[in-house]
């Protein structure tokens, strides 16, 4: 089974995308989509991406909800910063954080979260030492940002991926 269909979750996601693109649930398009997704999975297996298991889907769902709420909140915060008349009182700056998360897929998800939320931008990551360089638009308190990244995002990701 594992040899025939190496990545069942990715296969199902690709099939879903195919159905959305075609907007039909007819047997023909389902069959064609299943075949295309199967070939894509075989191609992916040749590339040998770093594998990691998705544990604890409940934690993942909670993280997803939290991230969506955070993105909504930081959207409004950044819009307020942009529209505020004085730009000179605000401090923006870099923060470097040493991470314990080592799983490449977990790091990729963390990078997506931090970049997708306005107000924080992932700038650089040193994989040898595990230090992350973040740019933060409204840097009031450096320590609180380090706490937010480590407690809010890194800990659930470590539960999920390690």
């Amino acid at each position: 089974m594992r040899r025939l269909l190496p990545y069942p979750v990715i296969w199902a996601c690709l099939l879903l995308l195919w159905v959305l693109l075609n907007e039909s649930l007819s047997p023909g398009s389902l069959l064609l989509g299943a075949l295309v997704a199967l070939f894509a999975c075989w191609g992916l297996a040749l590339l040998r991406p770093p594998a990691s298991r998705l544990r604890q889907p409940a934690v993942a769902m909670r993280l997803l909800g939290m991230v969506l709420a955070d993105i909504f909140r930081s959207n409004i915060a950044v819009a307020r910063i942009i529209l505020s008349p004085q730009q000179h009182g605000r401090r923006a700056g870099f923060v470097s954080i040493s991470l314990e998360l080592r799983d490449p897929n977990g790091l990729a998800v963390l990078a997506c979260i931090l970049t997708a939320a306005p107000g924080t931008a992932w700038v650089d990551f040193d994989s040898a030492e595990g230090t992350l360089l973040l740019h933060i638009l409204d840097l009031v308190d450096k320590e609180s940002w380090i706490g937010i990244v480590k407690n809010r995002y890194e800990r659930p990701l470590m539960e999920i991926f390690q």
């Binding site: 942009i82 870099f94 990078a111 306005p118 740019h135």
Partner: protein, 136 residues
């Protein structure tokens, strides 16, 4: 009488609200591109358009087409999925390219290569010196 005007009020009202809010967020993001002072601040601006702006416009589009065609139209989710996956990649690459260029020019606005965490170089804030970078 265009098809849009036949839309019932319970669908037209949320769609109108969402499309205006989404476009406003995209506009604020682009204004931020003009108003913010250094490149690293400006990187934050387009995410307004790609997160909330995109989500609102796509939701409005889904409502309008689902009601117009009296079936569930979900293919806007494709664009949403695609943008969620690609935007972090482009912005991250761009930020890394900018950092690389600034470091090779030994600009004092960016932290040096591999500073140990907690050292003073790591919190190089650029409140007033940003214009110096702009001139180059």
């Amino acid at each position: 009488m265009t098809p849009l005007e036949q839309l019932p009020i319970w669908a037209a009202l949320p769609a109108a609200l969402l499309v205006v809010v989404g476009a406003a967020m995209a506009l604020i993001g682009s204004v931020g591109l003009l108003r913010l002072r250094s490149f690293y601040e400006r990187v934050h601006a387009p995410t307004l358009a790609t997160s909330m702006g995109m989500a609102c416009v796509l939701l409005a589009s889904m409502i309008v087409f689902s009601v117009l065609q009296t079936r569930l139209v979900l293919h806007e989710l494709l664009i949403a999925f695609f943008m969620i996956v690609t935007t972090p990649v482009t912005l991250m690459l761009l930020a890394r390219a900018a950092l690389y260029r600034d470091r090779t020019e030994e600009s004092d606005q960016v932290p040096l290569l591999s500073t140990p965490s907690g050292s003073p170089e790591a919190e190089m804030a650029a409140p007033d010196g940003a214009e110096a970078v702009e001139e180059r």
